[in-house]
Symmetry: C2
Subunit: 259 residues, 2 copies
Amino acid sequence: MNKPTILVTNDDGINAEGLRYLISIMRKIGNVVVVASERSMSATGHAITVRSPLRLEKTTEEKGCKEYKCNGTPVDCVKLGEQIVIRKKPDLLVSGVNHGSNASINVIYSGTMAAVLEGCISGIPSIGFSLLDCNGNADFSECGSFIKEISEKVLETGLPDGICLNVNIPAISSEEIKGTKICRQSKAKWVEGFDERKDPHSKDYFWLTGRFEKLDLEADTDQWALDNNYVSVVPMHYDFTAHRAIDTLKKWQLNGQSI
Amino acid sequence: MNKPTILVTNDDGINAEGLRYLISIMRKIGNVVVVASERSMSATGHAITVRSPLRLEKTTEEKGCKEYKCNGTPVDCVKLGEQIVIRKKPDLLVSGVNHGSNASINVIYSGTMAAVLEGCISGIPSIGFSLLDCNGNADFSECGSFIKEISEKVLETGLPDGICLNVNIPAISSEEIKGTKICRQSKAKWVEGFDERKDPHSKDYFWLTGRFEKLDLEADTDQWALDNNYVSVVPMHYDFTAHRAIDTLKKWQLNGQSI
């Protein structure tokens, strides 16, 4: 049987430890093509590069693994990977391993998960992996069995149409992890502030700071799973419609003709 | 009665015609605070600025209208507007008027709509407006009655909890518009290619190009509404969970313990 072609990307950049670890796991499963940004693109959301040209450079070629760095965002990396490097649809897209949680509301800011949604839009079975440790030197070695199992399962059975996965892993030993839980995205928000400073020329500048506030601790959420030592798996889609609100809004009288 | 405080932003930058037009409409309704990027931030998605400091500069102060430009993304503008400029929750956030459609899958790449989702996360009633004309000199003058009516309706009745609105307006005369339709986000994708070029030093570079492909022409979608001369209004939320897929995935045997 031919080995599957696996496109690997992330948002922490080509040199991030989490990416290097994910590559090592994917090489056990298939032929790996890495396209990742040359620098950190954390918190770039679903940005794409439309006003400047993209550059792509091969950095490594070994049996079963080719690596490219580019000057774009994680979503650009997915597009370049499929259309310029592989030039066909890969069998699987994996993004990460992110340094830090992409559970709950974090998903909306995440470049790692934007790459996954982009793969999903393009019809590629796509999974994002994140470890709940923000440190550059986080220890990813306990994640491997979960990443390999979920990736192989997706390769074997596929994913429902229009669905991708957001997988978050507690930063504890694999023995302490109680299992894998299929969840919904919990409600939370960043309660933000700005650190207001003055530069040497007495001009104001601002650093964004924040504190994560959990608003939903139900047992079917990703946040509950993680707080209780489970790996969380949230099926995601790119339909942002709040279907539950459609009937309410239809009662509005807009321009005498709302229908 | 006190006039409502309205935070206005966009992703085409502080000088964009669409923003200038939106400000003119909002000044008829309330006290306006504008925080917008000093340059175009189109297609920046939900990016935030975490690795560099933000700058904010007041550019205009008139009775009922203050304007600030900043070096950040549309989502940064919302955060700065609420926390540094207004220093409390505004009564309404409006974003746009975008030069070009944010219907269907465009919503995921849009900085205009990212600002709206950010307002929604923060608990501000939030609306994005887009005109289906990408030109810098698009004629916004036919949009005003729809923008004013929807904004006043939201100020009057509020929005359901966790819901914001994505409003798209056909680029035709207001007489030709048949009414306002509450819709769901239609399925579509950008079929992309890269324009591959060589620079004067014989190095490759790539321009992202694309063609919008409609995959769903049902009469309850935003794309149908727009194609049939209606203003489309899609209620949106920031729960990306594909709830329909949860039961399917729960049947997977993961690590013997999937629950």
